[in-house]
């Protein structure tokens, strides 16, 4: 089958023969599902269709967002539920909501514009960096549940948000870094003016007392820079010295501390040269580099960290009379009975007391087809009930669930994550050793020649060779590359990824949702009787349109509707289309209608569904989880790098072998539990391999956390995204291939930068040793070399072929 056209709203493939479309920006656009169509229509109806013109990314698929039932939203109107996160201010209520589904800046515009148009909303402001919406509204005019429903109408899910300790600490630290940067910048300008006036090169005719005043002024202004702004360097240096490492922090602290102490001496005695401006420049450049690096990494990492919502917020509890009542999950107790409707998440581990259904456990186990569950079977918290209502007796809640066990495994795995060596730290170590030895030799030599100048020559040497460019070499390159990668659709959440990608030699892949699209699509139709493919598809679609089963999503909208469709969980569907009684599903179930023998299967892989009427079978439908289009490209890219490739899947079906065969992967293992996957990874680590893990499910989470570098798909579960080092926001494997290329270029730029910085320091060393370097030359050299390093790093912002 040809590759389908992408949905105008969300970019997912439109199923063949789909009848969903909407009028957007003066043209009819194809949509993949009723959800996208409804959202697009709501956006257009609100006069906000310019959103489509401005967006740089496709919107999130509304069906991918967590489902919320109207009565679940209504829980948020209860005052005791609102109490922790809503503040009252007279008539107005105020709260912060965490928004899910934001893909680009245009989303922010859409949300703010739409909410401001809702009567009763006084103010709506979305912070694009952390996806938090600050909203003030009149509770008497519009309840909170209505606001949440309005957001959902335009395709976003909103969750009440309370700052937890980690988020508050992060926000406080970001502000602290910003203040340090500002103070360093503002004070440095003043220090520079005061210090430069004392330099002989500028030939300012200073009176001795004015010279003294300027020296004291610059000392006064430099002190906050050293003590307020540079604390992080000193603390880092102390920590590294304790563990007997010579790192960049040590050399930075040495340069700043040395120049500052010498400056105090020179201010008090009134002799010698002042290097206070170098202290300020150094502090400002380094703080700016670190601040940018920090911001580039934390952009959306902080936002997704809040979204680890694997369990539903509420559930339906059954009382003794069999009446159901919606309660918050926190109110549920062990031994109680809950009713789980089809399409909702199971809130706790338990045992099925009544009902027959199938449960989608793909996120937890990697099985790509829902598993049948009946009376007496166990079900797991966080899995999705697909077909029929289930009554479940709660056996384990919260920390005792299987889901929490995986989360705990994740925490343990994280602590065992190996640390990849960084080039900059290795260079810094040798550099610092060399400089210290050189300083000692030069100092000794000058002591013999002219003991009065020895101290100043050594100081000039330390300042002139101060590793400003060296310290900027890595952060600037990483920051620029992180920005370029973000444009390519790959978001880095931890710093070591770009450098580390070059040290990888093994690729570990998950199957469901990673190499494949993670949802069933129709692959082939084999008619068995007089009806052709199109007619059979129309009949099958008419039946399937009435079902919630994931299989049903593979069928597009039918031209005619079916009547009286019954679902037989685990077997199939029965219904009447244009007066004809039909069954679709398991072969034995379908053949039972006509009493005929089951036709043989032609041998293709995938899920085989039979359609039949009272006269006998009509057609086979072959459904399959499609391989992603760019899966082969990724495997090829990995192979050219000489990596070992392993496919580890939780799926126990023959699909694993089939995918491996198509892609030519030799080592493919199926039916693995999260523990088993982690064990394989440990074994690889034991062999000294450096592993890149690519996955999406909750069952991949421990491996993602323990791998040297881990990448999660954009459509992955929230927990997988937060425990991975990078997220493929674009959901395209080709972004990772681009990322691998960019990682190589980044490494080259870092090496260039480091070589230039060392070369500059090497060149300036003899002049400093001869005592020719004065503060002005130190300043000029430092700025020029830093500028060169930054400009070189900026080359990474150009993406190739554009």
């Amino acid at each position: 089958m040809p590759a389908p056209t992408p949905c105008y709203h969300c970019g997912l493939p439109v199923p063949a023969g789909s009848s969903f479309h909407a009028e957007v920006l003066g043209a009819t656009r194809e949509m993949c599902c009723p959800g996208c169509q409804a959202v697009a229509e709501a956006i257009v109806a609100g006069g906000l269709e310019h959103y489509y013109k401005h967006r740089s990314e496709n919107a999130a698929n509304p069906q991918a967002l967590p489902q919320a039932l109207p009565d679940e939203l209504a829980l948020y109107d209860r005052s005791e539920v609102q109490q922790p996160f809503v503040q009252q201010d007279g008539e107005l209520s105020e709260t912060q909501l965490l928004i899910e589904g934001i893909s680009c800046a245009a989303c922010g515009w859409l949300i703010e514009k739409h909410l401001r148009g809702v009567p009763g909303v006084a103010e709506a402001h979305l912070n694009l960096s952390n996806h938090r919406l600050q909203v003030r509204w009149q509770d008497s005019q519009i309840p909170l549940s209505k606001l949440l429903a309005e957001l959902r109408r335009i395709g976003y899910a909103a969750h009440p948000w309370q700052p937890d300790e980690a988020a508050e600490r992060l926000a406080a630290e970001n502000r602290r870094r910003m203040r340090e940067l500002g103070v360093a910048g503002l004070l440095w300008m003043q220090v520079m003016m005061a210090t430069m006036a004392t330099w002989p090169e500028f030939n300012v005719d200073l009176s001795p007392e004015l010279d003294k005043i300027l020296r004291w002024t610059s000392l006064f202004l430099t002190t906050p820079i050293v003590f307020y702004c540079c604390g992080q360097f000193f603390r880092g240096a102390l920590r590294d010295l304790r563990t007997r490492h010579l790192t960049m922090d040590v050399s930075v602290s040495l340069a700043i501390g040395g120049a500052y102490v010498a400056g105090i001496w020179s201010t008090i005695t009134g002799q010698g040269e002042l290097y206070f401006d170098a202290v300020g420049m150094f502090a400002l450049f380094l703080l700016a580099g670190r601040y940018l690096e920090r911001r580039a990494r934390e952009r959306t990492a902080a936002a997704t960290a809040q979204l680890v919502q694997l369990l539903p917020a509420s559930c339906l509890r059954l009382d003794a009379d069999g009446q159901s009542q919606r309660i918050l999950l926190s109110e549920l107790r062990i031994g109680e009975q809950v009713l789980v409707q089809p399409g909702s998440l199971i809130p706790a581990d338990g045992q099925v007391l009544a009902g027959q259904s199938s449960v989608d456990e793909s996120l937890l186990t990697g099985e790509y087809l829902p598993q049948p569950r009946g009376i007496g079977d166990g079900v797991t918290a966080g899995t999705l009930n697909v077909e029929g209502p289930l009554t479940v007796q709660v056996q384990a809640l919260g920390d005792a669930t299987r889901l929490s066990a995986i989360v705990r495994l994740l925490e343990r795995a994280q602590s065992e994550k190996p640390r990849l060596a960084e080039i900059a730290d290795r260079v810094a170590q040798w550099f610092l050793l060399f400089i210290l030895i050189a300083a000692a030799v030069v100092g000794l030599a000058w002591w013999q020649i002219d003991s009065g100048r020895a101290f100043w020559v050594v100081l000039a040497l330390l300042v002139a060779t101060c590793p400003c460019a060296l310290a900027l070499a890595t952060p600037t390159a990483l920051t620029t590359a992180t920005g370029s990668l973000h444009k390519l659709g790959m978001l880095l959440t931890r710093g070591h990824v770009l450098e580390g990608l070059n040290q990888i030699d093994t690729l570990v892949l998950d199957k469901t949702g990673t190499l494949t699209e993670g949802r069933l699509t129709l692959k082939a139709i084999h008619p068995l009787r007089e009806l052709d493919e199109g007619a059979c598809l129309a009949l099958a679609a008419a039946l399937e349109n009435r079902s919630e089963h994931p299989i049903a999503r593979a069928f597009s909208q039918a031209p005619h509707a079916a009547e009286s469709v019954d679902s037989h969980p685990g077997q199939g569907l029965q219904g009447r289309v244009e007066g004809r009684l039909l069954r679709i599903g398991e072969a034995t179930f379908v053949c039972a209608l006509s009493g005929q023998a089951v036709p043989s299967i032609a041998g293709e892989h995938g899920q085989w569904l039979l359609l039949g009427d009272e006269q006998g079978p009509l057609a086979w439908f072959v459904l399959d989880d499609r391989l992603r289009d760019d899966a082969a490209q990724l495997i090829a890219a990995a192979r050219t790098r000489g990596w070992h490739i392993h496919l580890l899947s939780g799926d126990s079906s023959p699909m694993v072998g089939e995918v491996a065969r198509q892609l030519g992967i030799e080592d493919a293992r199926g039916g693995l539990t999260p523990d088993a996957k982690l064990a394989v990874l440990k074994q690889l680590h034991g062999e000294g391999r450096r592993v890149l893990m690519l996955g999406d499910g909750v069952n991949d989470v421990p491996v993602l956390a323990a791998a040297d570098i881990s990448v999660a798909m954009g459509s992955a579960s929230d927990l997988a995204k937060t425990s991975a080092d990078a997220v493929l926001l674009s959901n395209r494997l080709s972004s990772l291939v681009e990322g691998l290329k960019l990682a190589r270029r980044t490494r080259r730029i870092i090496i260039e930068n480091l070589s230039w910085a060392t070369l500059y320091n090497g060149l300036v060393l003899p002049f400093a040793a001869l005592g020719w370097i004065t503060p002005i030359w130190a300043a000029v050299g430092m700025s020029l070399s830093s500028l060169l390093v930054v400009l070189n790093a900026l080359r990474l912002s150009r993406t190739p072929n554009t």
Binding site: H54, A105, G108, N174, R179, G182, M193
Partner: protein, 68 residues
């Protein structure tokens, strides 16, 4: 040169004020979102109210021209 005796304290006071102002701006959350405002200014051109205002202003200026 004696002007410097006044100018130096003035400069220090000004820096002190600037730092105080900067701290206030950081604490009031003005630097928390450095991405959003950069984009929102682009979308404002599409605001129907803004467009209506621009049109009105253009009409006004064309009507004014013959008189001038």
């Amino acid at each position: 040169m004696s002007a410097l005796y006044i100018l130096i304290p003035v400069a220090i006071a000004l820096v002190g004020f600037a730092i105080w102002l900067f701290f206030w701006a950081v604490d009031s959350g003005q630097y928390d979102d450095l991405d959003g405002p950069a984009h929102s200014i682009l979308f404002d051109d599409e605001d129907p109210l803004h467009k209506a205002g621009v049109e009105q202003a253009e009409e006004q200026s064309q009507r004014d021209k013959p008189d001038a």
